[in-house]
Amino acid sequence: MVVATGVKVIEKAKKQKLSHNSKTSKVSAWETVKISRHPQRPILQDYIQKVFTNFVELHGDRAFGDDTAIIGGFAQIGNQKVMLIGHNKGKNTTEHIERNFGMAKPEGYRKALRLMKLAQRFNLPIVTIIDTPGAFPGLEAEERGQAESIARNITEMANIEVPIISLVIGEGGSGGALGIGVGDRILMLSNAIYSVISPEGCASILWRDAKYAPDAAEALKITAQALLENNIIDEIIKEPAGGAHTDYEQMASEVNKVLLRNLKSLSNYSVAELLDMRFEKYSAMGKFAE
């Protein structure tokens, strides 16, 4: 059912290709949103299987629990060993519920930070995979410090002494994405989105009605292309025509190639250079008048 709807969206998107945004012949922002949320879109689990080998999953935040919305562990890509950390939405209704649709709680972010520090101890570069509608907006999450856990990750990631690559594979939902998304390279799949607020949320605040989500999506500049132009991300990984879900193998092979290239280029820097570059990178973010 969900799948069918998703497929329909894609068909519609293909048809509208030329009509809506003709001068660049790209799909509209809202259509990109739909592709990024496509029920058959490959998720972290798929990349673990197709891009990485020898995955050793590690569990727990050492304080409260093990949040299954975030997965992490040792993994290998080619000959390169890394710490892999990412949101996992799950592939079907059972898994969606089990994984809380990839919406992490404080213990998820704290597990992620623990594993990043473990990566530092083992001297392994970190790859984070972002795919979440956002951090979980629940009572207990709030009580246990949803804000604190994201804030701490963002802060400590600035000081982590190994390379960090973040890749947005689907939805980059606001603080919930950024909580594992501070790095030396920010990559996005070509139909992924990254936004400060969901288009629906933005529309219901600024347009006073969620049905204006397509307008909000457009205004928020959440597509990979727009983010590249605004110097938020470093590189776009091209998806197969029709979207990542149409060809898992090709998608995986692209991701593999681009990750390896970026890992290699980051391996040339000393820790001090790396941290300076990371600081400069984030210092330069944003546009203002002076």
Binding site: G145, S195, W207, L220, I232
Partner: protein, 275 residues
């Protein structure tokens, strides 16, 4: 225009209101009394919003505050337009309304003789939202603290990230926290004062990262909005949810300080910094 003149100028519009209506207990308080009581209700201790300049006047030694980075102001880099108009127009309107050019004032000054770098958010300017200009100023002030080895105090009052700047706004969370991270590494104290309200992306970045997190009574501090959470869990939330008192109980706030005591409290804490 000196900081002191600015603070005095600002007060004028308030003086026009003869009676103030307390948002919490609904009592009517004589305007002059309200102001003399630092915009705190003498009846129920409700701590109402004050402007950045009022706070500076309240906290810093007379004449000691020097503004920095005051020329930074927002630009509408995404050409963002919603139903109510363009972000560009909003910026102009907010500048005019508030007399300041971003949602934060940054600078350095003395609190009972202790030199600090500081950033004071102003809720009047686009709801204290975290835009690129805000982030730049908060980072620059952190860098000033870093360069001169000064404790850094940030006073937050914000509705969160500034939607009209899209992901540029989101990234200000990382940008400001990168500044905090450098202070951490150099063992320079970072004190966060979370004022009413501090929510969303500001709470989930620098505001929650204080070596000390301090608040005022009753301040609302949270990540997700109350309504969103109620929709998610399908229940009504407790009344004190996301208040400073609630956060203290849950381990996120070191202490809640009355507005009138804040200057002494901060000076006392600063006296413990021993480097």
């Amino acid at each position: 225009m000196s900081w002191y003149t600015k603070a005095i100028e600002e007060k004028k519009p308030h003086r026009k209101t003869l009676w103030v209506h307390c948002k919490k207990c609904k009592s009517h308080i004589w305007g002059e009394e309200w102001e003399k009581n630092l915009n705190v209700c003498p009846n129920c201790n409700y701590h109402d919003t004050i402007t950045s300049w009022q706070r500076i006047e309240l906290l810093f030694d007379k004449g000691s505050f020097h503004e920095l980075f005051e020329n930074i102001s927002p630009v509408d880099s995404l050409n963002f337009t919603d139903l109510k108009g363009s972000y560009k127009d909003k910026i102009q309107a907010n500048k005019k309304k508030s007399g300041i050019s971003e949602s934060v004032i940054t600078g350095h000054g003395k609190i009972k003789g202790f030199n600090v770098a500081t950033a004071i958010m102003d809720f009047r300017f686009l709801g204290g939202s975290l835009g690129s200009g805000t982030g730049e100023k908060i980072l620059q002030a952190a860098n000033f603290a870093y360069d001169y080895g000064l404790p850094y105090i940030v006073f937050s009052a914000s509705g969160g990230a500034r939607m009209q700047e899209g992901v540029l706004s989101l990234m200000q969370m990382a940008k400001t926290c990168a500044g905090v991270a450098r202070l951490n590494k150099k063992n320079i104290p970072f004190i966060s004062v979370l004022l009413n309200p501090t929510t969303g992306g500001v709470t989930a970045s620098y505001a929650m990262m204080g070596d000390l997190n301090i608040s005022e009574p009753g301040a609302v501090i949270g990540f997700a909005g109350r309504r969103v959470i109620e929709q998610t869990i399908g229940e009504k939330l407790p009344d004190d949810f996301q208040t400073a008192e609630y956060l203290l109980e849950h381990g996120f706030i070191d202490s809640i300080v009355q507005r009138k005591d804040m200057r002494d409290y901060l000076a006392n804490v600063l006296s413990y910094y021993n480097r």
